[in-house]
């Protein structure tokens, strides 16, 4: 059922165009990577602040608010470029464990970022036990790292 869906996606004109082109895949990949750098910065600067290793004394709430548009913007670019890359090789992804690991991490990371982490940064400094801040930071970095590593691994087969 899912495999049929993946096969259908791969055979859409978009999938065929990207697969058939010499340079479309690398160009989309480049945008995917550039957005990765931005999302990495937007996530890490808040997580490292929550963990207490960067910008001490800077209100965490303001920092998260400043980083938010870049987090959301780069996530949108990543999702669009990622879907396009996926479209061109959907059945290869279906057979690749790394793809499923990445999708699981991605779903968890997005969910965690926009619920738990947002609540913690909104609460601000002293809003929650500092120990919780650190745990949230570690979980966030771990989940997003899983997305990154899983993604890189799709390229190896």
């Amino acid at each position: 059922m899912l495999l049929q869906f993946f096969t259908w996606i791969e055979n859409t004109s978009v999938g065929e165009a990207i697969r058939g082109s010499l340079w479309l895949f690398p160009v989309i990949e480049s945008f995917h990577l550039l957005a990765l750098a931005v999302i990495g910065g937007a996530i890490l600067i808040v997580d490292m602040r929550l963990f207490g290793v960067i910008l001490p004394g800077q209100p965490v709430r303001q920092l998260a608010r400043d980083a938010q548009p870049f987090l959301v913007g780069s996530l949108i670019v990543m999702l669009i470029s990622g879907v396009l890359l996926f479209t061109s090789e959907a059945t290869k992804c279906y057979d690749h464990d790394a793809f499923w690991v990445k999708m699981a991490c991605l779903a968890a990371a997005i969910l965690f970022t926009f619920t738990v982490k947002r609540r913690v940064t909104n609460a601000g400094d002293g809003g929650v036990n500092p120990r919780w801040n650190k745990i949230v930071a570690v979980v966030s970095v771990a989940l997003w790292s899983g997305v990154g590593i899983g993604g890189r691994w799709i390229g190896f087969s």
């Binding site: 010499l22 340079w23 690398p26 990949e29 480049s30 990577l33 550039l34 990765l36 750098a37 931005v38 999302i39 990495g40 910065g41 937007a42 996530i43 890490l44 600067i45 490292m48 290793v53 960067i54 910008l55 001490p56 800077q58 303001q62 920092l63 400043d66 980083a67 548009p69 870049f70 790292s145 990154g148 590593i149 890189r152 691994w153 190896f156």
Partner: protein, 172 residues
């Protein structure tokens, strides 16, 4: 010894062959390279965004600079080391790759940009440290940095594609 001979020699060293043929080492090093891209470039971009007045406007530039710099340095060292290992794993083919050469030139330009920023623009920081949107030349430095690093990332990604490979048989 010419550069070409140097890379030829590198390609023949046992560890290079080992790295090239390993099932796990090369992908792991590449993953490290990509992950630390987030640390190094992610934080560098956050600083550039502060320079351009696009984010972190309520924080003094000097504070962002001093707090982020140690971490971007850590990220940079890991990027250089993992990058050198990736180069060492496929020396000759990479050396002959046009995108690798473009990336090398861009990296020199990025280094130059950092040097100019430190020795020039940053000296007058007292005058614009608290500006939500710093003066034009400071913003220009931020945009230049982001443009250079974006180009470096794109060139780096393109190294993997061998459209212009001199050797159609990639073996070293």
């Amino acid at each position: 010894m010419s550069l070409h001979r140097l890379f030829e020699w590198l390609a023949d060293t046992p560890w290079s062959v080992e790295l090239h043929e390993s099932l796990w080492a090369y992908p792991i090093i590449e993953s490290v390279h990509v992950l630390f891209l987030c640390l190094f470039l992610g934080l560098a971009v956050m600083f550039d965004l502060r320079l351009t007045g696009l984010s972190l406007r309520s924080m003094p530039v000097s504070k962002v600079y001093h707090r982020l710099l140690p971490w971007t340095q850590v990220g940079f060292v890991v990027m250089v080391l993992s990058g050198l290992l990736l180069l060492y794993g496929i020396p000759l083919r990479t050396y002959e790759n046009i995108f690798f050469r473009i990336k090398a030139v861009l990296l020199v330009l990025a280094g130059l940009n950092v040097f100019v920023f430190h020795k020039g623009i940053y000296r007058s920081i007292a005058a614009w440290d608290d500006d939500p949107v710093p003066p034009a030349r400071v913003r220009l430095a931020g945009y230049a940095s982001m443009f250079l690093w974006a180009s470096i990332v794109i060139a780096g990604r393109m190294i993997a594609y061998n459209w212009f490979d001199k050797t159609q048989n990639p073996s070293g």
